[in-house]
Symmetry: C2
Subunit: 176 residues, 2 copies
DNA sequence: TGACAGCTACTCAAATTTGAATACAAACTT
DNA sequence: AAGTTTGTATTCAAATTTGAGTAGCTGTCA
C-alpha cells in the first residue's frame, strides 16, 4: 500500500546497506521529494522485513549498526509490488485538492489573492523542475530518474494551467 | 500535515454531526477518492480535536453515538490550515512515481506491455472523470467540487501524455 | 411476525509513521 | 591539542492510521 517497502527493497537491490545508506540512496533518487517516507520508517521497515524473511542481516555491527541485504524472497516481493504499481492506476494525492474543496469558505478577494500567489509559486516550481532535469546524473542517479522530474513538471504545469483559467472565473463570480 | 484534521473541520462547518455523518459528507465531496482518510481516523480525529478544545461535544448519546460541533477555536484552526494549503505548494504524491523510479528493473517487453496496459487504464480514467463532472451536484455537493474533478482529469491527462510519448522511446531503447 | 439485507455507528488492537533525541566519528579550526 | 561543526547511524515514545469486528436500527418481503 504505502511506498515504504518497495522503496527500501529497491534501494537494497543496489547492494547491501544499512538504514542510513538506504536513506541516502532514496535521496539521490529524489524519492524524498515525492514520497513521504520519514527516516524512522526506514529502520522500522528494515527490521520488519528482516523478521518476515525478505531481508537478511549481513552484518550486525557493534553500536547498533546493521547491514541488510535482499534475499530471493525479498526480490520476488519487490517484483510483485513493482508490477502492481505499474498496472494499477491509483489516485494521485494532491494536497491542493483540500484547498479547492473548501474554496467557498473564503471571500472573493482572499481567493483571488491566493490564486495569484499560487501562480507565482507554481511558475517557480515548474522552472526549478525543468532546471533539475539533467542535474541529477552527477549524483549517481540512473538516467530515467529524469522521467520522474518530467512527469512531475507536467503535473505542476497542469496545476498552473488550472490556476490561470480559474483567476478570471473567480473575478467574474463564475466561481465558486 | 495530513489532511485529516482540515477535512473533519470542514465537514463540521456544515453543522453538528457524528463521525458517520462526517464520513458521508467527505464521500459526497469526493474526498474519499483523493485523500487517504480511513474512517477509523475520523473518530480518532474527532475525539482528539475535542480534547484539544477545537470541537464541542453537542450530544453524547447512549450507545456511543456522539455529535460534535466546531467552536470558534476550531473555526480559526480551520481557517489557518486552509490558508496554509492554498499558499504552500506541497509535493504531489503519485504512486506511479515508484514504478517509474525502478523502471530499469524490468525487461524491455515487460515495460512496453505495462505501458500499453497503463495507457488503456488511464484513457478509461480520463473518460470516467469527464463523465463525473456534472454528476456530483445531484448528491448535494457544492458546484466547485467539479473543479476538483477537472484538476484531477488534467493530471490524468498529463500521465496519459507521458505514457504515450514513453512507448516509442522504450521501443527504440532510448529508455530506460 | 420473523428473518434477512442493508444501513448506521463506533471500538479497538495492531501496524505504521513521525521526528526529536542521542551518540559517536571525522574533518576542520584556532 | 582542545574545541567545534558536519556527517553517519540509530532508537524510541508518542501520535496516527488502519480496517476487521461488533452491534443496533430500519425496511421489506414472505
Amino acid at each position: 500500500m504505502s511506498p515504504t517497502r518497495i522503496l527500501i527493497l529497491g534501494a537494497l537491490l543496489d547492494g547491501p546497506m544499512n538504514g542510513y545508506g538506504v536513506r541516502r540512496r532514496l535521496e539521490i533518487m529524489g524519492a524524498d521529494q515525492w514520497a513521504n517516507v520519514a527516516f524512522g520508517s526506514i529502520y522500522h521497515g528494515l527490521s520488519k522485513m528482516a523478521d518476515e524473511g525478505l531481508l537478511d542481516v549481513v552484518e550486525a555491527g557493534k553500536g547498533g549498526k546493521v547491514v541488510y541485504a535482499v534475499n530471493d524472497t525479498g526480490r520476488m516481493e519487490f517484483y510483485r509490488l513493482l508490477m502492481g504499481s505499474w498496472s494499477t492506476v491509483q489516485p494521485i494525492i494532491d494536497p491542493f485538492q483540500v484547498a479547492l474543496t473548501f474554496m467557498d469558505r473564503l471571500r472573493k478577494e482572499e481567493i483571488v489573492a491566493a490564486l495569484h500567489e499560487r501562480r507565482r509559486q507554481l511558475a517557480m516550481n515548474v522552472e526549478a523542475t525543468a532546471q533539475a532535469v539533467g542535474a541529477k546524473q552527477r549524483y549517481g542517479a540512473p538516467g530515467h530518474v529524469n522521467e520522474n522530474l518530467r512527469l512531475m513538471g507536467a503535473m505542476l504545469q497542469a496545476q498552473l494551467d488550472w490556476v490561470e483559467q480559474a483567476i478570471p472565473r473567480v473575478e467574474s463570480d463564475e466561481l465558486p
